[in-house]
């Protein structure tokens, strides 16, 4: 019954210079269903969707959309046929208002010439209230939270009359509350007869929301199952091609002496705002402190302030009793601080450098690797070979440039370099962002290994499940402050989520002041 399918893709293949992104993919989406497409990073999900949407030309294959066969179509063709896409990286124009973003490209006009602002606002209001999206049409995108930005994207798609919606990894950037709210909206859209293609790599979401699931691995479809009849373990096996540990084994922590003590640390951001507001925390050797929070609430600045990358305005940081406040990054590193930065291409690597060079960065000036200002190339190569074998970097070639590694292997490279040489303090910021399950397993196992070897670990992650599995203690940051601290295992994702959005923060902030005092006092005597 082909007329019942909203989307039919047959034998779709797309070759990029270095990879086969889609390899003979078949995909059928039924009218009115929520269909999940899951797969690890790099499996080809986004590419497949961009092909369907008309932003990427396939090398082979046929596509039928709402009963119409498409060849060489563009995005405007598929929009006309009722397809809409909410991209993984939002396609919104920051200084424009919500209404301007929504109508862009199909603007209502008056007098045949001018944009009809009132009609634009009314349409946005109507669509937004119909699905309970609570969007203000005149608000500028730059002032919206990520959750609201996503809603603006959804309204943008609905305004274009889409009856098939593609959402590419929509939950990656949301808090648990926002995810719940998004699911309500998506179910309402299904009720209204629309078809939804939902891309994710989070297994629980699939089971909760989807009707059917297509699993992809390495550009190929490895299974199509009904969500009601599958389990996370089965989906994971289809995604990865082997049994995986969805949760790493961890033993109880045996904390020792305080290693990192942060005492009432404040910092001012580029726009003159207080990005850090009297933050105090303490991490002992052999324990992991996880920092949960919505991106942009001071986590980045906290890590940068500790590592010497962001100047502080008051307060101090001590490492095993030594004051390291506002020292130079290299001095801080040499005192035993390792840092896995949140943006691996920006700060973790020099993509154009070889694997061997990248593995040496930050250790390059140390005795043994350089002599009289010259790098000992033989030592560098030897060091690289050891780390590559020890951490199973692939391909095992120290001479290729780091930009040619997959995201997962780039991250493994950084972990291999930073964990080398027994640091006293390990700071891992978004250590598994955008890497595959295999690499996640690797990173998590290694973080725990470092902890058990006696390192103090500061873990910052937007991924709540990561915080919950690894942390011995959890601190929540909101608006540049630590609003609450929990013992690991004593708190639910939902509760963390409430603190992360400030909903439960008001009275807690006052309490946190109290604990801050206490920690500060402890830090003083340590």
């Amino acid at each position: 019954m082909p007329e019942k399918n909203a989307v039919e893709m047959r034998g779709v293949t797309k070759r990029y210079p270095r990879v086969l992104a889609c390899d003979g993919v078949d995909l059928s989406i039924r009218q009115g269903e929520i269909h999940a497409i899951i797969g690890e990073n790099g499996a080809g999900k986004s590419t497949l969707m961009k092909i369907l949407y008309g932003m990427v030309r396939p090398d082979e294959g046929s596509i039928t959309l709402n009963g119409k066969s498409l060849t060489g179509h563009s995005a405007s063709d598929s929009i006309r046929l009722g397809l809409g896409m909410v991209h993984q990286h939002f396609m919104l124009i920051d200084p424009f208002t919500v209404a301007e973003n929504v109508v862009l490209g199909i603007e209502p006009v008056r007098a045949g010439l001018f944009i009809d602002g009132r009609t634009a606002r009314e349409r946005v209001e109507r669509l937004s209230s119909e699905y309970g999206l609570a969007l203000a049409p005149d608000e500028r995108i730059e002032n919206l939270s990520v959750g609201l930005e996503q809603r603006a994207e959804i309204v943008k798609v609905l305004y274009r009359g889409a009856d098939i919606l593609i959402l590419d990894e929509p939950t990656g950037v949301l808090t648990p509350q926002e995810v719940t709210e998004l699911f309500v909206v998506l179910r309402a859209l299904r009720e209204s007869g629309r078809t939804i293609i939902f891309i994710t790599h989070k297994l629980n979401e699939v089971i909760e929301l989807a009707d059917r699931v297509t699993v992809m691995r390495d550009g190929r479809v490895t299974g199509v199952v009904s969500a009601a009849e599958t389990t996370p373990a089965e989906l994971a096996r289809m995604m990865v091609g082997r049994d995986v540990l969805l949760r790493v084994e961890r033993r109880e922590a045996t904390p020792g002496e305080a290693v990192l003590v942060v005492n009432k640390l404040s910092a001012v951001g580029r726009k003159g705002t207080h990005v850090l507001d009297h933050v105090s925390l303490k991490i002992r050797s052999g324990e992991i402190l996880g920092i949960a929070g919505v991106h942009g609430n001071g986590q980045t600045e906290l890590v940068d302030a500790i590592t010497g990358l962001h100047a502080t305005s008051s307060g101090n940081v001590t490492l095993s009793g030594t004051d390291i406040t506002n020292l130079r990054p290299r001095t801080i590193r040499d005192l035993g601080v390792a840092h896995v930065p949140e943006d691996r291409l920006e700060r973790g690597l020099v993509p154009e450098f070889t694997v061997a060079e990248n593995l040496l960065l930050g250790h390059h000036h140390r005795a043994g690797y350089s002599k009289r200002g010259l790098i000992d190339v033989a030592k560098m190569e030897e060091h690289a070979r050891e780390l590559i074998v020890e951490h199973d970097l692939r391909p095992a070639d120290s001479s290729i440039s780091a930009s040619h590694l997959s995201g997962g292997n780039q991250q493994k490279l950084i972990v291999a370099r930073e964990f080398d040489g027994a640091p006293a303090l390990l700071i891992a910021s978004q250590p598994t962002r955008g890497v595959d399950i295999g690499a996640i397993e690797f990173v998590h196992t290694n973080i725990l290994k470092m902890r058990d070897a006696g390192a103090a670990v500061l873990l910052v992650s937007a991924e709540l499940s990561e915080i919950m599995t690894l942390s011995d203690r959890i601190a929540v940051m909101y608006g540049g402050r630590i609003v609450q601290e929990f013992e690991g295992g004593t708190v639910s994702e939902e509760e963390l989520g409430r603190y992360m959005t400030g909903a439960a923060g008001a009275e807690a902030a006052v309490e946190a002041e109290g604990t801050a005092e206490a920690t500060g006092a402890a830090g003083g005597t340590a």
């Binding site: 995005a75 063709d77 920051d94 424009f96 862009l104 490209g105 006009v109 010439l113 001018f114």
Partner: protein, 300 residues
């Protein structure tokens, strides 16, 4: 220093700057740096004199200036949008090319390496006296300027309306902020950027025509950095037509004052520095935060 003569000459000095900076605005709002304004002004100036010389009609000269501006900007558009080359390098190359080519053609056409013979200019516009005292009053205040002065002022208002109140303007600005988003909704980034750059060429070509027709002849390198000053004015005006025009008037005023000061104590070089100093002051944020289009200078 606020004598009427100075104000009068300030407005004339500002006119080519205003036209060129509006041109720069359309290009930069689409995300393409147009440092080629300098070369376009010069080419427009040359083409307008050439056409006026052969037809005796300055309006044909104006059309030729616009046309030449569009042709030159077409090179910039092809190089930066289709071949995605560096926008600054393309602009600098065009400026060098324009300086050489106009001088060479001046020599070929008129046998002079420095300037053309004089041509007829444009008659100033004013309201007919017969319309009564109101018309006469208007003439006293803002009358008797060459037509392109009024065209430039109307163009400022028109640019404002186009950029902020029409679908074209919305899409153009969107292209300069986030071309990926424009592409994703099925609007062609290439078309929008071509439109921005060609409009830029037309306006700067028109500015060049005014520059030359106002002095009744072409003189080699007569643009004399005005393209860069126009770009500076656009930045000083925070990428807004009205702001850019006000900055041009300010710079035009400085230029007029400088001419009045000639032979006096203040070295003219100091006055010539004013636009650039003000622009640097603007860039470091003294007049409030300036925000260029987010995708400015990035090929797509």
């Amino acid at each position: 220093m606020f004598e009427l003569v100075v104000l009068d000459s300030a407005l004339r000095m500002a006119t080519p700057l205003i036209l060129a900076s509006l041109g720069g605005l359309f290009s930069e709002r689409s995300g393409v740096v147009n440092i080629a304004l300098e070369g376009i002004l010069l080419t427009g100036a040359f083409a307008s004199i050439l056409a006026t010389y052969y037809t005796g009609d300055p309006w044909v000269g104006v059309a030729a200036g616009i046309f030449a501006g569009i042709l030159v900007s077409l090179i910039h558009a092809a190089v930066t949008v289709i071949f995605k080359a560096d926008q600054i390098v393309s602009g600098v190359a065009i400026n060098l090319l324009a300086a050489g080519a106009t001088q060479f053609l001046t020599w070929i056409t008129w046998g002079s390496s420095s300037n053309s013979p004089p041509v007829v200019g444009m008659a100033p516009w004013s309201l007919p006296e017969a319309w009564g005292p109101v018309a006469r009053g208007i003439n006293v205040v803002i009358g008797h300027y060459p037509p392109l002065v009024y065209v430039a002022l109307v163009a400022v208002a028109a640019a404002h309306v186009v950029l902020w109140h029409t679908p074209f303007g919305l899409r153009l600005r969107a292209t300069g902020e986030h071309p990926g988003a424009v592409d994703a909704i099925g609007v062609s980034v290439r078309k929008m950027r071509f439109a921005g750059i060609l409009l830029s060429g037309a306006l700067a070509g028109l500015g060049g025509a005014f520059l030359a027709l106002n002095t009744h002849q072409f003189v080699k390198n007569m643009s004399a950095g005005r393209g860069y000053i126009a770009l500076a004015a656009m930045i000083f005006g925070k990428w807004n037509p009205v702001g850019a025009a006000l900055a041009c008037l300010l710079f035009g005023y400085a230029e007029a004052v400088q001419m009045g000061l000639q032979g006096q104590q203040v070295p003219s070089q100091f006055v010539q520095m004013i636009p650039y100093v003000l622009t640097m002051v603007a860039l470091v944020g003294v007049i409030g935060r300036t925000r260029p289009p987010a995708a400015l200078g990035k090929p797509y």
